[in-house]
């Protein structure tokens, strides 16, 4: 397990790190300029050889730092996880260095974060969308994007011609069903926010 000595030595060795307090595992914030160096160090010197997850957080457009990339590592020597946050300094076109050359597992995870949040991973060998199709114009997990979706043409011209289909906002039918996220379990159950529009009720604009 990671103990206080290990944490202190990490923080002493790298002045670009700072500790974020979290109940579960050791969580560090890393300056974006030193992210690749730190990943290399973790991989080669500290035996965190598994990249478990890499994703991003959108804090909303009122936040100073809107986008953060979050990576989870696991070490088979320490038997513990390590979480690293990297701030994207530019809120308009967030950018972070890619660690795909150090952790091959980061390749698809970075593509997903790019697809869903629009974060550019510089130095990525093949940064294109992984879930939505290439021509899709939005980044769906950004806060301003509505869950129901936005009218968008489908990519295949012949299918569109034959069927007239396109991406249409999904009817919410009483939903979305979201948990308030706090309070006792009985109140934390997902509830209908009732942003409903259906085939009968017009979609609010």
């Amino acid at each position: 397990m990671i103990d206080q000595d290990f944490t202190n030595s990490l923080l002493a060795k790298h002045d670009y790190l700072s500790k974020i307090s979290h109940a579960d595992c050791l969580t560090l914030s890393c300056l974006p300029a030193d992210w690749v160096d730190f990943a290399k160090f973790l991989n080669q010197e500290e035996a965190f050889e598994l990249l478990v997850d890499l994703t991003a957080i959108d804090q909303g457009d009122t936040a100073d730092i809107r986008f953060e990339v979050v990576a989870h590592f696991y070490s088979r020597i320490h038997h513990d996880y390590l979480r690293v946050h990297i701030d994207c300094l530019d809120n308009e076109s967030p950018e972070v260095d890619s660690i795909a050359s150090i952790y091959p597992a980061a390749d698809w995870h970075e593509r997903e974060a790019f697809d869903m949040f629009g974060i550019i991973f510089t130095g990525h060998p093949n940064l294109k969308r992984i879930l939505m199709w290439d021509e899709y114009p939005y980044h769906p997990l950004r806060k301003e994007f509505p869950l129901a979706g936005i009218d968008t043409p489908l990519p295949a011209a012949d299918v569109v011609e034959a069927t007239g289909a396109s991406v249409e906002p999904a009817p919410m039918m009483g939903g979305p069903f979201v948990s308030p996220g706090s309070g006792p379990m009985s109140d934390a159950e997902p509830r209908a926010k009732d942003e409903s529009w259906t085939e009968q009720i017009e979609k609010p604009v």
């Binding site: 939505m132 994007f145 069927t163 039918m173």
Partner: protein, 173 residues
Amino acid sequence: MIANEVAYNGKVEGDVIVTKADAVINWIRKHSVWPMPMGLACCAIELMASAASRYDISRFGMEVMRFSPRQSDCMIVAGTVTYKMAEVVRRIYDQMGDPKWVVAMGACASTGGMYRSYAVMQGVDTIVPVDVYVSGCPPRPEALLDAMIKLQDKIGNESSVKNLKKRASAVAE
């Protein structure tokens, strides 16, 4: 005795059976439905279960699952149709030879199901004509079998000869 002779008597008529062309064609078609398993999500597991020994879809003559659309005539859309996959579903449907039918298996394929979201097509009938919808999330294998039997009934009532002529004239034009 007389009633039997009116219907069919092998001694009188020999090896000849008189019937309507539609009846024969539909009878042949409905007893050899070759499904195209368009398994896209969890419903596909139930589709597999219907084909396995416990539920045994072959009792009704539909066990020949073909993964080549050119050899199959009923597409079973089992699962969540995302917008990205929709194009592929339509293309595979186009590759199936006529006559062809579509079964939308489960809530997702029928209406988008619980996925009221930007990524999921709200019902596969947006892109292909559906003959039978099956409710459930997932439907039990019995429900799929029931749907397939309903589809057989539907095939049995089609006017194939008229459609044949229609298609022939369309090709000629």
